[in-house]
């Protein structure tokens, strides 16, 4: 049974993005997901496209196709992200910086730009971007990662101001440590360090992130825009 919402999720083939897609599918939404790899989710109502969000033309075509096919976009969740081994800035290769900027900054920019055009015309919509507590921690080894996520946050706040007159809200979720495959690959030492810095020293579940996103996507949050919500952390 469809709840009528059309939801876009980037990076939906694994980890947090897959969980977000499944959350909205369980509530009966139509979900358009994308990632650089093939679809994992096969539930009816899920529509997957292979898209590299840092590619302007691919992202533009994906958003345009979703809007044309379903007639609207109610919620866009910019989740696509990568985690890279933390190196001191002095020895961080430019390739790592480029990859982080491409996925986080360019990817979020292109998705938000194209989705904005659709939401402006329908005079409604919800945009949620995924960030990280790393933007406030000034974390050793996270110079490139945190900078790219800080850019995402600032972009979201500017967009929130720009789109507020059209009834579109834009908010940020900072999930804290989630044990995805990417996070596990970073190692136990990194995991312990993050938990030590969280106010609530435990991992966050994907469902808990979905609950926050669900609130930002709901009519109940229509008075809230440009906000970053920390999980497991006093901000």
């Amino acid at each position: 049974m469809s709840d009528g919402r059309v939801v876009l999720v980037t990076g939906s083939s694994r980890g947090i993005g897959l969980g977000i897609a499944q959350h909205f599918l369980q509530r009966g939404a139509t979900v358009c997901g994308c990632s650089r790899s093939e679809a994992v989710e096969t539930t009816p109502g899920y529509h997957h496209s292979r898209v590299d969000v840092s590619n302007e033309q691919q992202t533009r075509a994906w958003v345009s196709l979703a809007a044309k096919r379903f007639g609207r976009i109610d919620v866009a969740i910019c989740n696509a992200g990568i985690v890279k081994p933390g190196l001191m800035l002095a020895v961080t290769p430019s390739e790592i910086l480029d990859e982080l900027v491409a996925t986080h900054v360019r990817g979020t920019f292109f998705v938000c730009r194209e989705v904005s055009k659709v939401m402006l015309r329908q005079r409604a919509g919800r945009i949620v971007t995924l960030s990280s507590p790393a933007v406030t921690w000034h974390l050793h080894g996270a110079g490139a990662y945190a900078a790219s996520k800080a850019a995402v946050e600032e972009m979201t706040r500017v967009l929130a101001r720009e789109l507020a007159p059209a009834g579109v809200t834009c908010n940020i979720v900072r999930p804290g440590l989630v044990l995805t495959d990417s996070a596990r690959a970073m190692g136990k030492e990194w995991e312990d360090w993050l938990l030590k810095h969280q106010t609530i020293p435990r991992t966050v579940t994907v469902q808990e992130i979905c609950n926050v996103i669900e609130f930002f996507a709901s009519p109940e949050s229509s008075a809230i825009t440009g906000q970053a919500l920390n999980m497991c952390l006093v901000g």
């Binding site: 533009r60 075509a61 904005s116 055009k117 402006l120 015309r121 005079r123 720009e162 789109l163 007159p165």
Partner: protein, 100 residues
Amino acid sequence: MRPTEVLEIMADALEGLRRSEVAEPGPALNAETVLFGARAVLDSIGFVTFIAEAEDRLSEGRDTPIELVLTEIWEFSAEEPSLTAGVLANYCAKRLGKDA
């Protein structure tokens, strides 16, 4: 597509925005109508909505959607930050010809 045909499509797009109250009521669009800058008939949200609407209407029936890249419009420079419908129509006509 000729610039005059593009202007007709843009005029329809503007009227659509006026009907949905995204743009203020006003005279019909012509080549001199300022879309962006001093004395513009659209505010910033109206301008973005107009560009998106024009892209959609101009893309109808084409395999590849047209994208209006404002920086490509040579008349639309930082020194003279105003954009008329005529300038935009000329740009669109050239762009549609190039992409055809």
